[in-house]
Symmetry: C2
Subunit: 220 residues, 2 copies
């Protein structure tokens, strides 16, 4: 009985989440989210993503064949079931929690979607195919995963990553990979709880800027 | 005069190296090289690359748009200057050294090339495009770099990596990346001497096998 009383006295807030393929009209939101991610990682001074540079590289190939973006939308109304996309049907989820979410950037991230639903863009995931010679199978590499601050700790990052994993399984791919900073213990714990292995021995090597140019010219 | 005497008394061996785009007829050699690489990394038990699986994934897109292979060939005769490939002209180099190379697998790796040159396949590099959101530019990710044992320590690994770097510069790309095992100090030294940064803080996360399947099914 005590449990029922507790449940009755707790106000329940309900929101609806949807993961869908990005379209060219999402580029302004994607650009803003990339800059928020750069600020979070204290790398904003390295971030040169513009709407123009994103438009020039996204949407040049069919989804999943090259650089692909999923958009996370949140609404207080259920998402309508529209005609399924031939390559990806949106994934929806209902969220319930005790405290309402106060989104101070609601207007900035108001979404334009086909359903006419009043929704906001809450996050994104950018990924592209990679290849494992040993598995002899392609996989997906996740370059960016980001959920806006007021929507964090509600399983939405996992929802985005799972959507990519589901797509990998659907396509018969062998892996999903991404990177994490070794001091980001919360992220590492989260990823390990999802079943990911963190490769402790492997380091990324990067040739960029002048060093890249030098090698680029060496063979000419 | 002493220098001249020394030069005169040193037998000089000369070989010619060429880096060219792989063709479907290279698949049997690529498969054997991948297995040698797996043995070198003591991962042969994880290696499932077959000629069939390689053929199904390579050569489906124009070079550089997806998974791409450069082949390293060695010959005792200079490579003829053939008509340049519209997307990639072979890079050639002359090697001189004091001791002859004894290649016990010469017959296995005898190359079939358009020039009619008697050449052997000595190595390969497999790479594909990736994308940096912060740079807002694509790059190349090198999945595999391998030179057969008897041809090592002659600058040929660098020749293959530089060929990819040159292609990245040509296409206006921002980076070339790959990974190294943290205990492979010789490789790390080699890469750092080439001007690469080894990212110490970043770890790769990998979702594969059952953990991948679980997330793949979670949204269904």
């Amino acid at each position: 009985m005590a449990t029922e009383l507790l449940l009755d006295s707790t106000p329940m807030h309900r929101l609806f989440a949807s993961v869908r393929l990005a379209t060219p009209s999402d580029v302004p939101h994607i650009q803003k989210l990339i800059h928020q991610l750069a600020e979070f990682e204290r790398l904003a001074h390295h971030c040169s993503a513009t709407e123009g540079s994103l438009s020039s590289i996204l949407f040049n190939s069919p989804p999943f064949q090259s650089f692909t973006v999923f958009i996370l939308e949140i609404s207080s109304n259920p998402f309508q079931s529209t005609l399924p996309h031939p390559l990806f049907s949106p994934i929806t989820q209902t969220l319930t929690f005790n405290l309402p979410i106060h989104d101070t950037e609601k207007e900035t991230f108001r979404s334009i979607n086909d359903d006419g639903i009043d929704a906001v863009v809450a996050g994104f995931i950018l990924f592209f195919p990679n290849y494992s010679t040993f598995l002899s199978k392609p996989g997906f590499y996740v370059e960016d995963l980001f959920v806006r601050k007021c929507y964090r700790r509600k399983g939405l990052g996992k929802m985005l990553l799972s959507a990519v994993a589901a797509q990998a399984v659907k396509m018969g791919y062998g892996r999903v990979e991404w990177t994490v900073l070794d001091w980001n213990v919360n992220a590492i714990k989260f990823y390990e709880e999802m079943g990911a292995n963190v490769l402790q021995e492997r380091r990324i090597c990067r040739l960029t800027d002048e060093a890249l140019q030098t090698h680029g010219n060496a063979n000419n």
